[in-house]
Amino acid sequence: MEAVLSRNFSAPDPADLALYQSGGGYAGLRRAITMSPAEIIDEVEKSGLRGCGGAGFPTGLKWRLRGLDAPEPRYLVCNLDETEPGSIKDRALLFGAPHHIIEGMLIAAHALGVRYAVIFVRGEYAAGARVLEKALQRARAAGLLRLPDGELRLDIHISLGRYICGEDSAILNAIEGKRANPRKKPPHISQQGLWQQPTTVNNAESIAHLPGILAQGADWFRALGVNGGVGSKLYSVCGPARRPGVFELPMGTTAAEILFEHAGGLQEGRRLRGVLPGGSSTPFLLPEHFDTPMHFDAVAKVGSRLGTGGFILLDDQQCPVDFLVATTRFFARESCGFCTPCREGLPYVRWLLERIEAGTGALEDIETLRALGGQIAPNSFCALAPGALMPVLSGLHAFNDDFLAHVRLGHCPYQEGRS
């Protein structure tokens, strides 16, 4: 497959405007401004593009549901707050495809009738925001921000930190200068978002796909996918692989191909026991399902989630209980603290896992963990806690013997023979 999003990833200066234009850059915008908003939304809907932040909601439909006649002013936010452990694709876009993001924002702004848009970049990526800023200055100087209805004001917001900022209403509170707690829905942000005005929030990868879709058409985009997937996708692999990294591949590439061909399989002497396929808030995908095409529907069918497409590998030298201690520690720390089940529940889950890992856990602790899964997730305010529990609950099921061994032995079997 031709490199679309990743074509300038290894260029000396991916913010170079001439370089981007020589590869067809800003042709999508040129076409878009000759089209009506409704025509652009049609094209994006036909392309089958789905939200790459993890939820997979159809991008064109999201735009259509906001309504072409939504009250003005309307706002647009690009979510580049990637903080999910194991997810590194938006970082690659920020450093390697800044013009894709800017052109995509211009296309989306025209389609949505937006005059003010924000690219929200996590503070840990400040160095990448400087690359984006450089690209933005060049685009602005070249007059590219002038849309038919006037010049787009496009700001880069560098966040002050916290995973919860990636939630699509919390991000708006962060931009407004408030604590980034998620908001109660309804009203949906498409009706009352930033400063209570109609707002659209799209993930950076979704935005970066727009230039290609507009330049080459929905059919071209659909044909990039394989095995029932549409478009291309930035998958990533981390953990004990030979070649961890980010790979742009046809959406629908099987897990086995991503893991064993592109990431080179596992390091010498290791055996893969499972993966979290879409960042650390997705359920385990086990080897018997590695032939699954990695697109939203196929992954859901086998009980996991495509999420961000960021694979985290669990091999036979890594204790699964210890693995889950680390994933849960992240979510317990990053809970925004607004609702009790998440604020109090996740530290309790982490503590129980730590107890089991330390060899002081009891069989009841394993049952308590299972029960907590059913109590915390449905009673929490946003998707953070349910996401946190997905690897824990699926891990309890898939690696039950390991949990039992910790309790029976009174220590972690993976620590035997280690200093």
């Binding site: 903080t83 160095a127 200068g177 604590r179 961890p244 960021g310 693995f323 994933t327």
Partner: protein, 170 residues
């Protein structure tokens, strides 16, 4: 709580002018708070009480609201740090790649608790959430610049360079 002289207390006209310009450019004054805090922190090392009151006055937020933001957002520092801040990722990919050893080594070197200022005044070590370098684990941020993978040897070198103020991002 906010005194009429709080902005002047910053005693830095160029800084104040820059902050006022940020607020003026913002669609709504309160929305400038993130940038105001970033600029103040970069100028003063951390958000001390003077900076906090100035940020409040500039953006029209109450000092209590700004305090709420400072305690919520993890990249805002409300206490002094060493000249260099090491944020060491302890999330899953780095955890599996030995982040705990890296964190321990840096903490032992600093000789003080996590978050405290080392006796040399050069270093503060803070554990941090995933920094998006999962393919280069274990990773860390040195004064905001990403670095990875790091091992015992490269960290020893890095710490020595930070002590001598000769570290530069590659």
């Amino acid at each position: 709580m906010s005194s009429p002289t709080s902005i002047a207390d910053l005693q830095d006209d160029a800084l104040v002018a820059r902050l006022r310009a940020l607020v003026a450019e913002s669609l709504v004054p309160a929305a400038a708070i993130s940038e105001v805090l970033q600029v103040l922190q970069s100028a003063r090392g951390y958000i001390d009480d003077v900076a906090l009151r100035a940020a409040a006055e500039l953006t029209g937020l109450s000092p209590m609201k700004v305090e709420e933001l400072c305690t919520f957002y993890s990249l805002v520092l409300r206490e002094p740090t060493g000249r260099h801040v090491l944020r060491i990722c302890d999330s899953i990919a780095c955890h599996m790649a030995g982040a705990q050893n890296i964190l321990n080594q840096a903490r032992m070197h600093s000789g003080v608790a996590l978050g405290a200022v080392s006796s040399s005044g050069q270093l503060t070590v803070i554990p941090h959430v995933c920094i998006g370098l999962c393919d280069r684990a274990p990773a860390l941020l040195v004064d905001g610049e990403a670095l990875g993978p790091v091992d015992h040897e490269s960290l020893t070198q890095l710490l020595a360079q930070l002590e001598a103020d000769i570290w530069k991002p590659s």
